[in-house]
Symmetry: D3
Subunit: 130 residues, 6 copies
């Protein structure tokens, strides 16, 4: 198990990122994910930058829908940590139980049809190629 | 390669489903996906029923967002056919190029963090367990 | 693209394995798979040994069912080459179109429920743990 | 963790499905899987219908072999819940320890050759394309 | 298929990144990968930054070994484009045919044992937990 | 959970392999992985043979780098057991914390770009095809 780097014991470099995480997320809590990857500061820095930009910068997909997409990927990959943390994030951004149910149904159905497309070796329709 | 069952040569059972696909989608075109799985009518019947319910029945996630979730799963699984067909569907439902770019960014970032969570063997935070 | 090592141009070491493949499979044809991995003879040797033992040695699962299991894995991984070659092998061992349809239905359904189990983070029932 | 919907506290709609599960499986036990997805009744309904049809309706692949295929997919996806529950189901349908060993060997070998086919970028043999 | 953004038709923002790619890689060629993701400049910018840092910044894993690791991941995911481009990159950095063969053998074996570990549901040894 | 076959209770056939594992690894400890797959001696025999050859025979990729490649695959597949055991093995062969950080960064970045390549359906550059 990876050692978790607590705020109190972090280097200046790591602490600056932790401060940005706290400010961006408006909470003092720092998830274990960040405390773990802080063992390699360039990875912490780059990953936080990416997640911050992708999940919080202005855009055409609203923040809740971004979380749903994140969960769909994590469910497909079977990443327990990511499913748990992004499901919590989605609920905090307004996901209802009904939406979670619909999300699971879509993700499950896509995984099913993905395999049918593989197995039947279906040629892509000409009109989808352009 | 799987033989594609054309409308003209389909059994009564298959044709009834093709007719429902046409009516639901408001187009005479039937995607190769359905023509391929029509080789096993119970799979055609069950899969169409699932896709129809999950993608078109009333719900809290809007139809375009459902397509984005479908694409995110298909990209994660590397299903070429499904990426092509659902990207076309998403554009027809109003996806902009900007939204597609954001979607790719979210899916790619989730795939990245999923692996960091695996590799660092990060314990799920207590507050995410409930 | 990998250079394919043809029988005529193969080293003595590779040729001995090709001869065993031909004898075991009762055909002169050697699939591109073997011709490709023959670029690294230890991999050819080890892989052929494994496939031969696992797919043809006496056992409780009959040869056709072994092919179905192989296809189910390949469909799940989206391996185009393996789906094509093992589907051909399964047909040559007696798979009917109906069986292929059932196989696809099982593989697709398993992929669907696998994701539901992930997403709902379902605790394993006590009676399944022993 | 998802709340499990117990039989006693289920809605009429969910209870009808639970009753069908009990009758079909000839046991009062309902797996956590169903109790979890019962949080979204349409998913419970659709998933049970699919699993029931695919795993228990008459067909050319016998019930035990269907379980083996299910396990092979679940092992490939790394779905802990599904491996545990379907391994139990397979044992109850007559799987021997020897068969389980053979199944693991086939699934492992297929996963190995799938990656060799990817890495060597092997062109599909002409005779497998038809 | 995604439109590829050629250097000549790129915006100033994209061109600056293309120039950095050319300078870093010491070639005028720009891979289709960058030309495709240039459709969403923030993704181009962030992805190039990550790849540049991770693959070319000073570190303890030498540049050729980084390519081998990249290929192993891409082979596991079945990403045809990434296998092709990083195999070319690895050869240009000194990979021998022998090394490629060893790499495939390691990646294939790991994929095999990963599934055995899943299927046998093996408890992690106490001494690996710390 | 699979029964672990302890050295003391193993058959002669299994014990001979355990002895080779101990001799090759220069330790009396036998990992749970081997104790689990020993339930099917042919799988134990074949898997140990493959792992021994691939990970310890002379070659152009050094033993530590082989472990890093193994970890990258296991992280991509999300195999908890394999990540734990091969991370321990890598540390025992000289992996530094810095190298582990770099490895995670490479594996995560490759998983990210693999999905971008899928989603943008990028045609392989002509010069990568030969």
């Amino acid at each position: 198990m990876t050692k978790l780097i607590e705020y109190e014991h972090s280097s200046e470099e790591v602490r600056a990122i932790y401060d940005d995480i706290r400010a961006t997320r408006k909470t003092d809590e720092i998830n274990n994910f960040w405390k773990a990857i802080a063992n390699h500061p360039p990875t912490l820095q780059r990953t936080w930058q990416a997640v911050k930009e992708v999940m919080t910068s202005p855009g055409e997909i609203d923040p809740l829908m971004r979380e749903l997409i994140y969960i769909a990927v994590s469910v497909t990959n079977g990443c327990e940590y990511c499913i748990a943390s992004h499901t919590a994030a989605a609920y905090s951004k307004g996901m209802s139980d009904q939406m979670f149910g619909e999300l699971m149904a879509i993700a499950a159905t896509a995984n099913m049809t993905n395999r049918l497309a593989n197995g039947y070796r279906i040629p892509v329709d000409e009109r989808f190629k352009t």
